[in-house]
């Protein structure tokens, strides 16, 4: 019999940790670049194996728990670290391990022009991320969860700012960190509150308590809401969604791994992990649904107007995450989790496909692309598979999970959110196929020769990065095999999952009406058709389509001013207020001190005038002293 699933999961976790430590400490190795990458990939491969084994080894509802004391208090254990391997965590672990491995392999090709020390640094970050993400997935308690939660945020920061010499990347990294940190403030408060409320950090213990009804309900809503705030930040829910599109300044593989498949789903995962807790606070769950549905719609609209291929995908990620949130809010977190898994696969595929395109055309902008299917057919195929999955067509990965979510929201009794989500399904298909048609099939617009090697201002992350080497050979071409392989793996997985779920339809937790599937599929198909008509056939003028939605279109172009509001809040409120406090400190608080010391010095100076140098004044002093003494004697 092989090792238990907990041990295997731990092994998967520690393999990445090993890779990180080796790369972090052995600086010479790291600076070699490729060898460092091989170390990391090797560990990732081992980790995937361990994760898969752990997943397969896991049976039924059994829970495998390994914990060690991390923080003592009053001679007792306050917090532990370890792994909690159960059905959900092992499958999530497998997803993380898989995408991490694929992305690491893919990056070998994608970042082939990176300087060696820089590449080494990249793989060190990748390993650290994979380790932290697995730690988050396997966290047996809130403390470890929060630790890893922050660590993945850190890795996100580091990897978004990987090309830190570019101001946009540096800015985006900061933005991402700060915005998610805002949510983390809530999460931290929530954890502290719930610890005080239940007396434990441990998820298993807390679940038992919840099952026994031993958790007092008073005030619980505040706590779950605080925890949800963390998820809002991490999983880019309105209004904290603004960091994710900017996070596209990072290298595309990073976007695939962190900002599509794994880290951003941590919020969803957290809510899924603690659904028994949220179940106690239906009011918070209602907020989750509404915010989810709203965010989904908002970002879907935003996705429609983006010209940057990665931004389209970023908004689509937000939209899909909100889908999952909505399902969880509706009380059926299983549906959300399922979508999380399938989404992880096909969104990674889409991002990596987008990366291949960017790699080829040295631009992120859709107008710089066009008719790429001829030059890079394999990419076109896999990308289309991804798009179909995202659109949720039958036989593709996203189909079933999306249907489940729609059903869940409906079953939860949220009609309006359901309608919004259906609309989102339509928009999703539309914007995805807008990308597909514009990039692969339609002719590039006049003035754009196909590739952006000559484009004046390559202002977007990967583009400018690749422009440096792309100037000589600007003919788009298929990516190298190290990039193609992961693409195919993911594409096959998308299809396989889709087929698998179509064939083996799992028993849903709820009853869905029969009209649900046609509506879902229908809206997706409608979206695809609209995109085809607009961008491929050009039967409908895109400009007049936009004009039809005048205010919404203009608002979407300005990202509905949400970024601007945050920017203002940061500049005016925070920095302005801090300047005020700084001024107060320097010129009032410290000023008072200076006044006191100046007075002291001044007092000395003033007293000096007493010392006139005239001897009779000295006698005067004595006389006055004498007089005072005599008065004292008189009146004592």
């Amino acid at each position: 019999m092989m090792a238990g699933d907990g041990t295997l999961a731990l092994a998967a976790l520690l393999l990445h940790a090993t890779a990180f430590l080796v790369l972090a400490i052995a600086a010479p190795l790291r600076r070699l670049g490729r060898p460092a990458a091989y170390v990391s990939i090797l560990c990732a491969a081992g980790s995937l194996a361990a994760a898969v084994l752990s997943w397969r080894a896991h049976t039924g509802e059994a829970i495998s728990r390994l914990v060690w004391t991390w923080l003592p208090s009053e001679g007792q254990t306050l917090a532990t670290v370890g792994v909690l391997a159960d059905a959900d965590s092992t499958v999530m672990l497998t997803l993380v391990a898989l995408v991490a491995l694929l992305v690491q392999v893919y990056s070998l090709g994608y970042l082939s022009d990176e300087r060696a020390p820089s590449l080494g640094r990249y793989y060190a970050y990748q390993s650290l991320f994979a380790f932290s993400m697995m730690g988050l997935v396997l966290a047996p308690n809130f403390v470890q969860l929060f630790i890893c939660w922050e660590l993945v945020g850190l890795c996100s920061y580091l990897l978004i700012g990987f090309w830190y010499e570019r101001p946009a990347a540096a800015r985006a990294a900061l933005k991402a960190f700060w915005i998610t940190k805002t949510g983390d403030v809530g999460l931290l408060i929530g954890i502290v509150l719930i610890w005080r409320h239940t007396g434990t950090f441990d998820l298993t213990e807390m679940r038992v308590l919840a099952g026994n009804g031993a958790i007092p309900l008073a005030g619980l809503s505040v706590m779950t809401f605080c925890i949800y705030l963390g998820a809002v930040g991490k999983s880019a829910q309105f209004p904290l969604h603004i960091w994710l599109p900017d996070a596209m300044e990072g290298p595309t593989p990073v976007s695939a791994l962190i900002h599509a498949a794994t880290m951003v789903t941590a919020g969803v995962y957290l809510l899924h992990r603690t659904d028994w807790l949220f179940a106690l606070t239906p009011d918070v769950l209602a907020i989750v649904v509404w915010v989810g549905a709203f965010t989904a719609l908002l970002s879907a609209v935003l996705a429609c107007v983006q010209n940057d291929i990665k931004r389209v995908l970023a908004y689509s990620t937000i939209s899909q995450l909100s889908y999952m949130m909505a399902a969880i809010g509706a009380g059926f977190s299983g549906a959300g989790f399922l979508h999380l898994l399938t989404h992880g696969v096909f969104k990674a595929l889409l991002f990596l496909g987008a990366g291949a395109i960017i790699h080829a055309v040295h631009s992120n902008d859709l107008p710089d692309m066009g008719r790429l299917a001829r030059r890079m057919p394999q990419t076109a195929i896999v990308f289309t598979v991804g798009a179909l999955s995202l659109a949720g067509l039958p036989l593709f990965a996203g189909f079933l999970s999306k249907e489940e979510i729609l059903g869940a929201v409906l079953a939860g009794g949220f009609a309006a959110p359901f309608a919004m989500l259906v609309l989102v399904a339509f928009l999703t298909a539309f914007y995805m196929f807008r990308v597909v048609f514009l990039a692969f099939f339609a002719a590039p617009p006049a003035g754009h020769a196909g590739a952006a090697a000559a484009s004046g201002a390559p202002h977007v992350a990967d583009a400018s990065h690749h422009a440096s080497h792309g100037a000589a050979a600007h003919e788009p071409h298929e990516p190298p095999s190290s990039m193609l392989l992961p693409l195919w793996v993911l594409a096959l997985l998308s299809v396989a999952t889709g087929v698998f779920f179509t064939v083996v339809h799992p028993e849903p937790e709820f009853e869905s009406p029969a009209w649900l599937m046609p509506v879902g599929v229908g809206s997706a198909v409608a979206g695809i058709l609209l995109a085809w008509a607009t961008y491929q056939r050009r039967a409908i003028d895109a400009a007049s389509l936009a004009a039809a939605f005048g205010p919404i279109y203009r608002g979407a172009l300005a990202r509905f001013w949400i970024d601007a509001v945050f920017e203002r809040a940061y500049r005016l409120a925070l920095l302005g207020f801090s300047r005020l406090v700084g001024w107060i400190d320097r010129y009032l608080v410290d000023g008072v001190l200076n006044v006191l010391s100046a007075w002291t010095v001044q007092a000395g100076d003033d007293l000096r005038t007493m010392q006139t140098g005239r001897v009779q004044d000295y006698v005067y002093g004595i006389a006055v002293g004498l007089l005072v003494l005599l008065l004292w004697v008189q009146f004592n």
């Binding site: 000096r608 010392q611 140098g613 005239r614 001897v615 009779q616 006698v619 006389a623």
Partner: protein, 99 residues
Amino acid sequence: MGLQAYLTLAAVVFCIGLFGVMTRRNTIGILLGIELMLNSVNINLVAFARYSGDVTGMVFTLFTICITVAEAAVGLALVILLFRVRRTVTADHLDLLKG
């Protein structure tokens, strides 16, 4: 009644002396004021001695007189010294040292 009168006289003399010390502009005048102050002491001592029938006060007076003389001598010497160096004996002019 008797002692009280002497004491009052002494006090008045003392105060006149002190007043002189504080107001005379000439250093010699200040010296004279000090002499007055010291002499008021003598009145006091003698009066106390007389009324308590104790001779110690008288003896004390003798000592005081002697010392007063010594002080006057030193004082005048210093005034002469000052006059030699600074060509002035006005107290108000002595303000090189101050602050």
